[in-house]
């Protein structure tokens, strides 16, 4: 069989993900493997359409394609994302149509499901037959049972291709709206001293998005700072080199605008609004570039409780995966104001919604509202905690210092563990267990009743 591996790592052949692909190649010598180092070659694909066409023909010739990538900020690398955009922009979908495919990623399992959801959606949009998806931990190749799993993943794709099984679509096209929003400009209705920044990638062609930004600006009696990512001088994408691990200092630190502009936003914003237009099943690759490069702060929270919201032009309500990514991003250490999209297709309603969104952002900020995290934030922090307390903390020393200082390496306390151990011991006693069963609900509310009693609210 002819396999085409679309490598999504900026490290090319030296990537952790590629070692798994090399393993497959070496254990299946009867098959032929070709590698396209998409991220490394992105500039060529951007500049030369014939190279893209040639790649399309390669894909067409292959019996199966594997999208193999390391996780970058809950998705694929920004350059991989750009490559996907190029496929659609250049109408190369026919080359992918009907092709059997698999998705393979390596990560620490931090929001790997959102990356896989995204890729599944893209495969469906391209008309590919997604046979299987496998998300490995970075070290899984070193474990025999995980290699067996990788073998099975490979065989599943082989089987799908040779038996012509096909696959059912899970993600249907998001569709595109032609509705044009023209904001009604008003006298400012919101007075505040809070500093507001709108971070956007809007181009002059993003009519609705620009109008949404204008309406928000017009609602507030205060200068709203617009930070446009397209105006930032950028040396490049995140290289995945991890040189930032030791002092949270990227190799591009003072070589382009990124760090200085990001730090200025962090310093001068109480309210931060992300305004972007949806491109395929995410925002633009430019926005992805912004998120990827924020890894200069590695796994350290940077927003310090800012109010954060999202103004999205596009079918956000039909893309739960993107909503989840954005919400999870805020839950790391910000407070979510909410989402607003241009889907309502009603001028008056849109005006009202945007002003209400602006009012809410200011009100939350002035009330110092900090909503507790749900699973998206709590689960995320636990994964980081375990990683930073473990082997990751050995390299990401700045993370370790920060987590330690802010008590983020807190596992269940000894008191809790002893208490749980004792309870397990007692629960082994039949009459104790029976009594607990009988009074379970009462025990559950006992501390709450005590609190109410203390507050004089019994």
């Amino acid at each position: 069989m002819n396999w085409l591996i679309l490598n999504g790592s900026p490290k090319g052949e030296l990537s952790v993900t590629m070692q798994s692909m090399k393993y497959l190649e070496k254990t299946h010598r009867e098959d032929h493997f070709e590698y396209i180092h998409v991220v490394k070659e992105l500039n060529t694909f951007e500049a030369q359409q014939d190279k893209l066409e040639a790649l399309g023909r390669q894909i067409h010739k292959a019996d199966a394609v594997i999208w193999a990538f390391p996780l970058y900020h809950m998705l694929v690398h920004a350059a991989y994302k750009r490559f996907i955009e190029l496929i659609f922009e250049n109408q190369l979908e026919p080359y992918f149509q009907g092709k059997v495919t698999g998705v393979f990623s390596t990560s620490i399992h931090f929001y790997d499901h959102t990356a896989h959801n995204y890729m599944h959606g893209i495969c469906d949009d391209l008309g590919m037959h997604l046979s299987d998806a496998l998300s490995h931990d970075m070290d899984d190749l070193n474990h025999a049972f995980r290699r067996k799993e990788l073998d099975q993943f490979f065989e599943n794709i082989q089987q799908t291709a040779s038996e012509n099984w096909g696959s059912a679509k899970l993600y249907y096209p998001l569709g595109e709206s032609r509705w044009r929003y023209d904001a009604t400009m008003i006298q400012p209705v919101i007075k505040t001293q809070k500093q507001i920044t709108i971070l956007t990638d809007a181009t002059p062609h993003d009519h609705n998005l620009n109008q949404m930004i204008s309406r928000y600006q017009a609602s507030v009696d205060q200068e709203v700072h617009i930070a446009n990512l397209n105006e930032w001088k950028a040396r490049g994408h995140c290289l995945g080199c991890c040189q930032c691990a030791f002092e949270n200092r990227c190799v591009y630190h003072d070589k382009d605008d990124y760090r200085q502009k990001l730090d200025a936003i962090l310093e001068h914003s109480d309210i931060l609004i992300f305004a972007g237009r949806m491109h395929d099943r995410y925002l633009s690759s430019r926005f992805k570039w912004f998120f990827d490069r924020s890894f200069c702060y590695t796994h350290t929270p940077i927003y310090g409780g800012k109010q954060m919201g999202f103004m999205i032009s596009g079918p956000l309500s039909r893309c739960e995966n993107l909503k989840q990514i954005l919400e999870a991003y805020v839950q790391m250490d910000g407070n979510l104001i909410g989402f607003i999209s241009d889907e309502c297709e009603d001028q008056t309603k849109m005006d009202e919604n945007l002003t209400a969104f602006a009012k809410r952002s200011v009100y939350y900020s002035e009330s110092h509202y900090q909503r507790t995290s749900n699973f998206l934030g709590v689960g995320a922090l636990k994964i980081f905690r375990d990683a930073v307390a473990g082997h990751l903390g050995a390299i990401f020393t700045e993370d370790y210092r920060y987590y330690k200082k802010h008590n983020m390496l807190a596992f269940p306390s000894y008191k809790e563990r002893i208490q749980a151990g004792l309870m397990r011991y007692f629960m082994g006693k039949k009459r104790f267990q029976n009594e607990v069963r009988k009074k379970m609900i009462h025990f559950m509310i006992k501390p709450h009743l005590k609190t109410l009693e203390k507050l004089g609210l019994k």
């Binding site: 008191k415 002893i418 208490q419 004792l422 309870m423 011991y425 007692f426 006693k429 009459r431 104790f432 029976n434 009594e435 607990v436 009074k439 009462h442 025990f443 006992k446």
Partner: protein, 177 residues
């Protein structure tokens, strides 16, 4: 506010005054003082109408020791008083557990509400606490038999301090009714 575990521990300590006197005073006066204290505690128990197995057991123990000493003048009753007492306490602990009436239960009751006294949770917690004390008493008797070196005595004190700590903490960790 004093924790329930601490209140129980204090109740138990008061119950041990006869033994404390028996161990700390010199000569035969230790026996008499222990017996008097045990009788006083029994009277207190009757007055309060709060049954305590350990008080009944200790008054019996002190009376037996006094009677034996007065009748026989065996010197080991004084020289081996620690070992004998620890063995007697270990017997009290394991014996009371055997009959499903751990002796600490009676002291602990004073710190809890009536409804909780009859709870199986309360009983199981006290079985564990009494087991801990039984083991500590047994070890203390063994150590005392083996040596009178001050390091050994210090070791016994550490064991007892550990048991006191466990007696205070374990009930506090439990969900109470």
């Amino acid at each position: 506010m004093m924790s329930k575990g601490l209140r129980i521990a204090l109740n138990v300590t008061v119950g041990f005054v006869p033994l404390i006197l028996y161990w700390s005073l010199a000569g035969e006066w230790s026996l008499y003082a222990g017996a008097i204290a045990a009788v006083l505690l029994t009277l207190r128990m009757i007055y309060r109408q709060a049954r305590s197995i350990s008080t009944i057991y200790l008054v019996g123990y002190m009376l037996v020791m006094n009677t034996l000493y007065l009748l026989t003048h065996w010197t080991w009753i004084l020289s081996m008083r620690h070992v004998i007492s620890y063995l007697a306490l270990a017997l009290l602990a394991f014996g009371s557990i055997y009959f499903d009436k751990p002796y600490t239960l009676y002291e602990a009751r004073k710190a809890y509400t009536k409804s909780f006294e009859t709870s199986p949770l309360f009983l199981e917690v006290n079985i564990l606490v009494t087991q801990i004390w039984g083991v500590v008493y047994g070890m203390a008797a063994l150590l005392r038999m083996m040596s009178h070196h001050h390091a050994v005595i210090m070791g016994i004190h550490v064991l007892i301090a550990g048991a006191v700590f466990a007696s205070i903490k374990i009930p506090d960790l439990m969900p109470e009714a």
